[in-house]
Amino acid sequence: MTETHVAPKISVRGLRKSFGRKRVLEGVDIDCGSGESLVIIGGSGTGKSVLVKCILGLLRPEAGSILIDGIETIRLKRAARERLLNKFGMLFQGSALFDSLRVWENVAFGLVHGHNMERQAAKEVALAKLAAVGLESAVGELRPAELSGGMQKRVALARAIAAEPEIIFFDEPTTGLDPIMADVINNLIVKCVREVGTTAVSITHDLVSARKIADRIAMLHQGRIVWYGPTSAIDCSGNPFVDQFINGRAEGPIQMEIRAA
């Protein structure tokens, strides 16, 4: 891990987001350098996905600032937002593959619709990306519903990297996978970030995955970043929230809400 002194690729300051009376983000400050892999950890319902959706522009925060390459993105016009989205790739927790399209069409979707590539050329790129995540070209002709969960995740990863975006977001990339398949996905993410130099922001509960793919880890609790540091420092963070979380203890400063909503 190296310290960078250039402007961060992503810079979030004072981000606030509520849903009705429920305040989810209460002033998040975080940076992610270019080519860096940042993992955000935290309990369920702490706002990790909301934070990523705010950065992507899928949700509009009430206050705060999100800079991408030094440019404010919160109130971008539609055309500028579409140009910005071309820099992003996203792997959704549930894969979010389009049921009505074949696998290769899913992978090629962003190339055809976002980058105006010819279908045939996009298909060749899609098959190459499927091969990069260990799937044969025959899989490309199947529908997503015909694939196992692990294969769907790999297709979603192929779709996220297909247009070679500058920043990729991974939402719970290993959730619901067996340990071996989870490690395959982790390796693919590491390969993507290290070889291509992509900036990666991941959110996960899986600490094995976090330790493997992260350069830096941030912990989100009650809408705020309570710890932020290099992966190597997480075991000696001295932060009671982090210690409780990484050791999986029920006792500690983090109190789980066990009352039904």
Partner: protein
């Protein structure tokens, strides 16, 4: 008393807000038609889905409606010796009212529900967010093709329903009630005006738009997993059916309300 008035006010305000959301949704979706890219294949696919695959159910409904109409008007009109008006009543009722309304209601049940379920499932499984992250406007890609396909296809479907409905009346008139075929066709043609058919087709275009809009709107804003998608489907069919009946009255009053 004050609490009662506040409750009425809250319902009224929610109604206004919902109307505003619906109009904004339709306006934003239609505005995407002004700039490229245009998804012509998606429009054609939806046209086939709405039009071609609705033909069996619409055809069956139309033929039985025409047949029942001929029987009912014959039994009614025979009380004052006006049986000769059966053919005219059948063709005017089918082209002006029953063709568009029954087709609209059948399509609301078949297509509106399917649109709400498909788009609703896409919403709750993050597929709509995925579209956005792939630089594709979901309103342009998912909603506009359905709105345009509904607008274009329903008039075609109603034209077919009109023909089948009138044919149903003809079958009953000739083979059950003993009318002379030539005389029946003459009476069908004699009092039919272009405006009768055109008003029905305009209604059909409005109903097609309504069905697609309600299906897309309720699907797009569905929440809460399978239950939310189920609710969206119900709302889409009920709201489209009610709006079809309301707009049927308004369009009829505009054309024939002198």
């Amino acid at each position: 008393m004050l609490r009662f008035l506040a409750a009425i006010g809250a319902v009224f305000l929610e109604f206004l807000a919902a109307t505003g959301r619906l109009v904004m949704f339709a306006g934003l979706a239609l505005a995407t038609a002004l700039t490229p890219p245009f998804y012509l294949r998606a429009i054609l696919r939806e046209m086939v889905n709405i039009g071609y695959f609705s033909l069996p159910v619409v055809g069956l409904t139309a033929i039985f409606t025409g047949m029942v109409l001929a029987l009912q008007s014959y039994t009614g009109f025979s009380r004052f010796a006006a049986e000769g008006a059966v053919a005219t009543v059948v063709v005017l009722s089918v082209t002006r009212e029953l063709g568009p309304v029954i087709t609209g209601l059948m399509v609301a049940g078949r297509v509106g529900a399917a649109m709400a379920a498909e788009i609703g499932t896409m919403r709750v499984t993050d597929q709509i967010d995925a579209l956005t992250t792939l630089s594709t406007d979901p309103l342009r890609y998912l909603v506009l093709p359905r709105l345009l396909a509904g607008l274009i296809t329903l008039p075609m479907l109603v034209l077919v329903a009109d023909i089948i409905g009138v044919f149903g009346g003809f079958l009953v008139g000739v083979y059950r009630l003993g009318f002379n075929p030539e005389a029946y066709l003459n009476r069908t043609h004699q009092y039919l005006e272009t405006m009768d058919v055109v008003s029905g087709l305009l209604k059909a275009a409005a109903f097609g738009f309504i069905v697609a809009l309600m299906g897309c709107y309720h699907g797009y804003y569905s929440r809460g997993g399978a239950r939310g998608v189920g609710q969206a489907t119900t709302y889409a069919v009920v709201s489209a059916s009610v709006l079809i009946l309301v707009f049927n009255y308004l369009i009829t009053a505009a054309f024939f309300g002198r």
